[in-house]
């Protein structure tokens, strides 16, 4: 899923200073699962903003909404009838959702209420970790199912580097060395021969480096 963290409330309040009539919009997708942008978070954030603003003598009116997904046009459209009645939308969906609203509602300012993080997994309740950078050319079959692009701090294709010590990455003692993980797994799978092969230079054009990406599936376009 796409993960994120709430923006500090001071930052949100600062963004909202010019407005007194806004929408706080959540999303039932990833951000609900990682508990940063769902219906509940909309309620809490709206309530927090109202309290802070009223205490500061500067009341704000907030409409609370939660879309099924902010990244699909049909759900976004459901906001159209009333979006113009408000001065701004504070969205706590991921960056994609926020932008999609901005794109659809061209005259309404869109404000981000969360910092979008990464594509990751829930390692345990309250802890998420990155797994994939969406490089557009997956090599997991060669690396024991562990991503060198994401899990190695240097995205090396022939790790580990000299900084790997007892399975820990040189960058931080909380980070496991991705290459140690890959090697352990290749060994467990009996695929160490994959380690000894020289891998071609990674083509980054399928990643973000090739410019903003687009997927077109002719078979699905009606």
């Amino acid at each position: 899923m796409i993960t994120g963290t709430p923006k500090p409330i001071e930052e949100v309040l600062e963004m909202l200073e010019p407005y007194d009539n806004i929408i706080v919009a959540g999303c039932h997708g990833c951000v609900t699962v990682c508990r940063v942008g769902g219906e509940k978070e909309v309620q809490v954030l709206a309530s927090t903003i109202r309290l802070a603003r009223e205490a500061a003598g500067n009341k704000i009116n907030i409409k609370e909404v939660s879309l099924e997904r902010q990244c699909d046009p049909e759900y976004v459209e459901s906001m159209r009838p009333y979006v113009g009645d408000y001065q701004a939308v504070l969205s706590i969906a991921c960056g994609a959702g926020i932008q999609f609203l901005a794109e659809k509602f061209t005259t309404t300012p869109l404000l981000p209420g969360i910092n979008t993080g990464f594509l990751g997994v829930t390692e345990r309740q309250g802890e998420w970790a990155e797994r994939c950078q969406g490089c557009g050319d997956c090599v997991l079959h060669l690396t024991g199912g562990i991503c060198p692009v994401t899990r190695c701090a240097k995205s090396l294709f022939h790790g580990p580097c000299g900084g790997s010590v007892r399975g820990i990455c040189e960058v931080d003692k909380e980070i496991k060395c991705g290459w140690q993980l890959i090697i352990d797994r290749l060994k467990a799978l009996g695929q160490m021969e994959n380690y000894g092969k020289l891998k071609p230079y990674k083509g980054w054009s399928s990643a973000r480096d090739g410019g903003p990406r687009r997927i077109i599936r002719e078979d699905m376009i009606s």
Partner: protein, 308 residues
Amino acid sequence: MKSGSNLEKVLAAGHFSVTAECGPPRGADPEIVRKKAAFVRGHVDACNVTDNQTAMVRMSSLAGCMLIKEQGIEPLIQMVVRDRNRIALQSDLLGASALGVRNLLCLSGDHQKFGDDPQAKNVFDIDSMQLIHLVRTMRDEGVFPSGDKLEGAPQFFIGCAVNPFADPFEIRVPRLKLKIDAGADFVQTQCIYNMDKFKKYMEDARKEGLHEKVKILAGVTPLKSAGMAKFMRRMVAGMDIPEAVIERIAAEPKDKQAAKGIEMCIEQIEELKEVEGVAGVHVMAIEWEEKLEEIIGGAGLLPRPVLV
């Protein structure tokens, strides 16, 4: 001859070779490089010039190479893949070769978080293994990786670093093999203090015949004090300094520890000379270049052979 470098010639002639290292200054003052060069000249077959090591910004490696070359020292340019993508790397390789740099060391580079600019973007477009391969392709096939013909192929004696003590243990030798497959002509090892472990590494490498495919230069760093030894053991990733080594230098009074460090380094070089497959030493006298003559001379490795 692949590059015609002095280092390559010395090794090819079967001499036990010596390299050292010079860190360029944190500033634009060329005099600092020249001063260091004066301590190096005549004592080595080539001298490494580091590339923003530990991600601390320093004068560029290429500029440092040119400054020591002017002083009559054969430069060995270090290149990390942390800061440059393949376009910049290729371009700098061509430039370095054009300016007469003939030795190259391909490295990953310490993560930027250790240096001046932890907020910098990390590049790592290709890794150090692929850099070796890229240079080899350019040198031997006279083409860019894209396949386009080069207007003059760069000439480099291609090196890489290995850490015989790194984790995980089981890939140390396969990794060296991989670097040879990629195109490495020589390797310089991480500084060695644990001689038993290093000898075991060499034994494993010999079993695969790797010492015949690549020139192995064993890295040594003289210890200035017991404090430095302890600091290195604690702070430098993958540094293996056995207790016995530390005890030996710690047994000396503080003012005699430096001399002891040099004595131990000389002993170690003597011992390395006897290890089958070790083709030379890489003496990293960190900010202690003035002792190079004493160390290298003490190990009976002076004068350096002059080949044409």
